[in-house]
Structure formats: C-alpha cells, structure tokens
Amino acid sequence: MRNTICSLTAISILIGMLIFSCQPNVSIKTAQYAVNGQKLYVTHCQSCHGLKGEGLGMLYPPLTDSAYLAENREKLACIVKNGMTGSVKIHGKIYKGEMPGNNELTNIDIAYILTYITTTFGNDVETYTQEKVKNSLANCRM
C-alpha cells in the first residue's frame, strides 16, 4: 500500500515536471492566440513563407529575423493586411518583391497570426493584441 502511494506520487511529480517544463514561457492567453494563429498561418502565409518561417530562396523572406520583428513590431499588422512593396533587409540579405495584402483578415485574425509568428519564429513572449493591430493599421503608411 505504502509502495503504491510512493510510486503514484513519484509518477505524478514526473508528469507534472514534464507538463510544466514543456510549457513555453508565455501566458495562457498568448498560447491561445498562437494556437489560433497557427491555423491561419497555414492558410494565408505558409505557402510562401514556409512551415517553419524559413521563406523560399530569395523569392520570399524568412520570418525568423527576430531583430527585424522587434524593430518593426508596430508595422507588422499593416504589412500583413496591406502587403508590401520595395526591398526589405532580412538576416542581412536584401529581398525585393511584392507581397500581396490579406485584406480579408479581421483584426483578431491578424492578432492571432502575429502572435504566432512573433512567439514561434521570433523570440517574443507577449501577445500581439487587437489594440496593437488597430494602432498599426491606423498608422499605416505604405
């Protein structure tokens, strides 16, 4: 009986450690946003930017430049919604081309997608909130 209790305790501690050690360093809300964002990413972004945000050759830039993501955090929603033209420097390389906009996406969709991108490919730990999306779109200068 005592043995059983002992081993049960040990097992539950182990499982607990596993669960907590696997949790990324983000809040529940951020994690939820990222999960929703992943689905939208597959539909709207993955074809060009790749499963792991690796991009494709010099055609489509990777989304893994965390310095770029951090410096341009305010512009990201605007880029997702309206697309981008001209050149952009990612990981030290210049990418020239045209990114089509995703006009059909709602603010909450963009918040989900950008939370996924910035926390998974970049090293952000915060939610890209709907308010941020709103502000970014209001200050859009493309």
Partner: protein, 214 residues
C-alpha cells in the same frame, strides 16, 4: 515437439525466401493515359503494338529567351509542372518541393525539370529569369518557359493537368499542382500533388525506380 519446431522453421525459411524474391527492385511504374493498338505486318505475320499516350512535340521560349523544344528532353527523365510567378496560392509550396528534387539531382544529366508559366501576359523571359535566380536555380537543368496561350494551355492537356484563366481564382489563373513524371520516351509515368508532402516523397521514390528502368 521437435518435429513441430522443424516444420515451423522450414515454413519461416520458405516464406523469407519468397519475401526476398519479391523485393522493390522489380517494381515498375504504370504508363498513364489513353492507349490504342496498331497492327503491323512483320515478316508476313501480323503484330499488335500498343501505342501509349505521349507528350507531343513542343516549342517554347525559356528564361534566357532561347527556344526549348521536346528534343531538349530526348533520352531524359523529366518532371513538368504549371505555375506562374506571382501565384499567391499553391505555386510557392509546389516549387519549394520541386526545388528539393532539383537539389537532389543537381548535375545529374539524366534528370531535368520543366516549369510552364500559364501567365502568358506577365511572365516574360526576364521575369522568369529573375524568378529562377531567386528560387535558387543556377543551371540549365530546370527550364522555365512561356509561349503562346494556346500552346501552353494545349500542352497542359497533354500532361493531363487542368489549367484555366479564371478571374475568380487567386492571381487570376486556376490550375492543378501536379508534378508530372515523364520518361525518356515522353510517356507519363506518374503525377504527384506538389503541395502534399506524402506525394512528393512518393515522387522521390518513383524517380529512382524510373531511373533504374532507363
């Protein structure tokens, strides 16, 4: 008990013999498309030949503004597909996957690649050239071609790939993402959805089988 064991062991040995003999090396790819028969008289005897569906002769302009014809693919295995450079939907995934095949067989003269642009209005040779370079294609093994509308859409039918101008489709053109495997006699030996990882893996396997056959 001992007799049982011997029987069991011999069955095992026999079955392993059969398994070993039906190895993968004997697998052959199907020949796809409609076929007809043709009767010929050879040495006074009537012989029936099967005529398989073949890719007919063609002539297009590539990314260097050079004419590319079916002759450039004689005695080669090649993978053909249909795309356009500013296609926002399936093409990037399809080309990303075909690039993996290209990189595996780079500098192998038996294998070529042929991408047809179905956007005959925008995808001029210079646009195709820039696309190919940015994709990471550095030699002549992978050709990107354009041509007259009726020629491109006509040849798509021969590869059994659906292509259509469609204003309601993303980018203005509707098309299937098949990677079509063609043998050295211009016969279709397989078609793989270039957006599906499993089917692309199958293409890698089948290409090896086809190369052994040549």
């Amino acid at each position: 008990m001992r007799r049982q064991l011997i029987t069991y062991l011999s069955i095992l040995a026999l079955s392993s013999f059969f398994v070993a003999c039906s190895g993968k090396s004997e697998k052959k790819l199907p020949i796809i498309g409609e076929r007809t028969t043709e009767e010929r008289v050879v040495d006074g005897k009537t012989v029936v030949d099967t005529i398989y569906h073949q890719i007919p002769s063609f002539s297009f302009i590539n990314q260097d503004s050079v004419e590319i014809t079916d002759k450039d693919f004689d005695n080669k295995v090649y993978v053909a597909n249909f795309f356009f450079t500013h296609c926002p939907s399936i093409c990037p995934t399809m080309q990303r996957n075909l690039l993996k095949v290209y990189e595996k067989y780079k500098d192998d003269e038996q294998v070529s690649f042929l991408s047809h642009s179905i956007d005959f209005k925008y995808d001029s040779p210079s646009v195709l050239k820039s696309y190919a370079e940015k994709l990471g294609v550095t030699n002549k093994q992978w050709q990107f071609v354009t041509g007259e509308k009726r020629d491109i859409y006509g040849i798509a039918d021969k590869y059994l790939v659906y292509t259509k101008e469609d204003e309601s489709a993303p980018g203005g053109y509707d098309h299937q993402s098949y990677l079509v495997l063609i043998d050295s006699q211009k016969r279709i030996r397989g078609a793989y959805d270039g957006t599906s990882d499993e089917q692309v893996a199958q293409l890698f396997e089948d290409l090896e089988i086809l190369l052994k056959e040549q």
